[in-house]
Subunit: 254 residues, 2 copies
């Protein structure tokens, strides 16, 4: 949820048949979620599509008009199913052209001119700027408000290092939690809702768990852009829980 009407917003578009077939467990969404949160940007939505042109173009166009930034991951390698650059160019209605600098670097690294497959990775849409790849292989690129990143998690995370300066950041969200053991959400829900309704600028959530020895517990999380307000609400919540007889309340980080 967006914690403020003026918040800077983002969406993620994960691209790849391997995620939807179940072959691969995605971890890029979580890495980008943490990255944008650290910049005070609210991640509002994510989508996963396969290696299919029309679906990719449609999802990208839906997201890029709605949010301040869109991060895509996957589909920028040299094989026939790597169609992200083509689709981004199509979505923006611009040409996709070989970048001489990338070709030159490939030639230097390999000692020979790149073959047709590798040349595919040197294509950047007109108007795009390269995003550094500090790990291996060719760069990603930015076109308008869209950041096009690799799918391999280590490379994707490396590319994020070249993105922070490109975003207008927001006020970072403060998150504080308490861990309640031995009491289920059925008891915790009422005081949680009461505090939530008293602080509409905050987001209060409950994330239940089962305990190793049996029984229930929940992590109660308060998030907001004003750290003092988060602290006030946290104290109110603890007081309300204690008034109900809830013991075993542990404060935890984040």
């Amino acid at each position: 949820m967006s914690l403020n009407d003026k918040a800077v917003t983002a969406a993620v578009l994960i691209i790849g048949d391997e995620i939807l077939s179940g072959r691969t467990q995605d971890t890029n969404l979580n890495a980008i979620a943490r990255f944008v949160a650290a910049h005070g940007v609210d991640l509002i939505e994510a989508r996963v599509v396969g290696d299919t042109g029309p679906a990719l173009v449609e999802a990208l166009n839906a997201l890029r008009v709605r949010y301040d930034y869109v991060f895509t991951t996957g589909g920028i390698g040299p094989t026939h199913d790597d169609i992200t650059a083509d689709c981004v160019a199509e979505a923006f209605g611009v040409e996709l052209v070989e970048d001489p600098e990338i070709i030159a670097r490939m030639t230097q690294q390999m000692g020979v001119a790149p073959n047709a497959a590798r040349r595919r990775m040197a294509r950047i849409p007109v108007g795009g700027s390269k995003i550094k790849n500090p790990v291996a292989g060719p760069p990603g690129f930015q076109l308008g408000n869209v950041f096009v990143l690799a799918g391999v998690p280590r490379i994707m995370q490396g590319m994020l290092e070249d993105i922070g300066w490109r975003m207008k950041g927001g006020v970072v969200v403060t998150s504080k939690s308490i861990r309640v053991e031995g009491w289920g959400e059925g008891v915790l829900a009422e005081p949680l809702e009461r505090v939530a309704k008293a602080h509409l600028d905050l987001a209060l959530g409950s994330y239940p768990f089962t305990m190793d020895g049996g029984g229930y517990g929940s992590n109660l999380v308060i998030r907001g852009r004003d750290p003092a307000l988060v602290d006030v609400a946290l104290e109110e919540l603890v007081t309300a829980l204690q008034a109900l007889g809830v013991d075993r309340i542990l404060k935890v980080e984040a």
Copy 2:
């Protein structure tokens, strides 16, 4: 990608601020992807939205008209931010009513009538049917082509056991892979594309990796609904790679 125009299709809608804030790494998408694949159903798209009513209703309506089945996860607990049942009812334009059987079971299990928060979990949209929860707590439900499941992975997976019989299945996709070590995608791309273009009923993908001692490799995956055709294409690919001098080709499961 859908491997056949008549394929049975599905989408996943992951619901929860905790996924978009980066607090929680989602694993439900992968579990559902494997589940539907085992039933021959193609997962075409997934979306992640926060605990925000309008976003949830919009996404659900977009997905449920487009795919044969939609799986939602999350937001069916007793707390104020658990709004999935309300939103599903709103999306379908039906009432949300307490199910007397769920109330009776709660009362029996707890020895007292459930409080207001727990009663929230006993609400099912009119026309919905309960999905068994073999782990703990109240059931999920099916309404039309939408399966509404818990967010806690262990409970979500338990609920899947009551879903297979509700779906019309398809022909299961066969997936075979070879693992090529010491050769990068820049070399593998051309023969891969050649075999892909000769078999438009199959999906060929390349999933590169870096090797521990340095250098590159890739898992080349062939997927299709005709196992004999997958085998034929696999042999063609191996032959094409060997003709290029590619050694270190390992056949692997899946």
